[in-house]
Amino acid sequence: MKKCEAFIIGGSAGSLEVLLKVFPVIDSAISFPIIIVIHRKQGNDSMLADLLSSRTSLPVKEVDEKEKILPGTIYIAPSDYHLLIEQDHTFSLDYSEKVNYSRPSIDVTFQTAAEVYKDGLVCLLLSGSNSDGVNGLKSVKLWDGIAAIQNPDTAQVSYMPAQAQQHVKIDKVLNIEEIGGFLNLLS
């Protein structure tokens, strides 16, 4: 693959504990942005960014509309908006219908990112209880990006990564303690 231009992590139930273990391992000199899309309800946005920020020296911020995507920054999708990646490497937030009963939908972010970053994209799907993200990973593969999942055996809720494994040609199946190292090697 060519150099990683963006690393996107999608997750649902059981994914926060994974992020909390992975964040301290991430190299502070990484050369690409990390974008996090996890399903959650409204009302705890600042607390989540705060908590994740306490586990890394990299800047962690919630995405603002039309914001430019910068390397070395960790972005979190705000609750209740779809997070789209635009061709000019900016974000846009969208309040349209839920996809897979979810907003933000992991599929939406993976799919829009796949067309932008093509073979420079790596997407990782974590623990979760629905199949959001599976179609997104299919798009990632269509555009020659890398599709990775958390090993379903290590997931608190295995359904989401297991569905991906069943329906998509997955490049990497990672145990929780392998995720940080995998990410650092892409830099």
């Binding site: 926060l16 909390l20 959650r40 309800k41 009302g43 705890n44 946005d45 600042s46 607390m47 306490s54």
Partner: protein, 120 residues
């Protein structure tokens, strides 16, 4: 070795419960959570926390009635109850419930820890 202070959080939002658990365990508290205020007295008696966080909107028995029940109990009435809600009227709701304090959602980690320290 000193015993950890105990915090009981009532909220029907599982994300809030998960975040509060991680944050307060990090800060050295012993935490228990519940998504319902049914049988509030039994629930609280089973843990005897040093402080309680009560969400306004809870299924069946809402936060106001649950807090009132606690405040009418002979011994549990002395446990501080912090009312929390995204409702603009959180202060008035806390007063109506007879809570000892309130916290507006969304709140950050510091606000959560500060209000605990203030009350216990």
């Amino acid at each position: 070795m000193s015993m950890s202070k105990k915090v009981f959080v009532f909220d029907d939002n599982a994300d809030i419960l998960e975040l509060c658990t991680i944050i307060l365990e990090d800060a050295g508290y012993d935490i228990k959570t519940s998504s319902t205020s049914n049988n509030i007295i039994d629930q609280v008696l089973s843990f005897i926390p040093d402080i309680i966080f009560m969400d306004n909107w809870l299924p069946d028995v809402g936060g106001i009635d649950a807090t009132k029940e606690l405040k009418q109990h002979a011994t549990l009435k002395n446990i501080p109850v912090i009312y929390f809600s995204a409702n603009n009227d959180v202060k008035a709701l806390a007063e109506q419930a007879g809570a000892d304090g309130y916290l507006s959602k969304p709140f950050d980690i510091q606000e959560l820890e500060d209000i605990i320290i203030k009350h216990i």
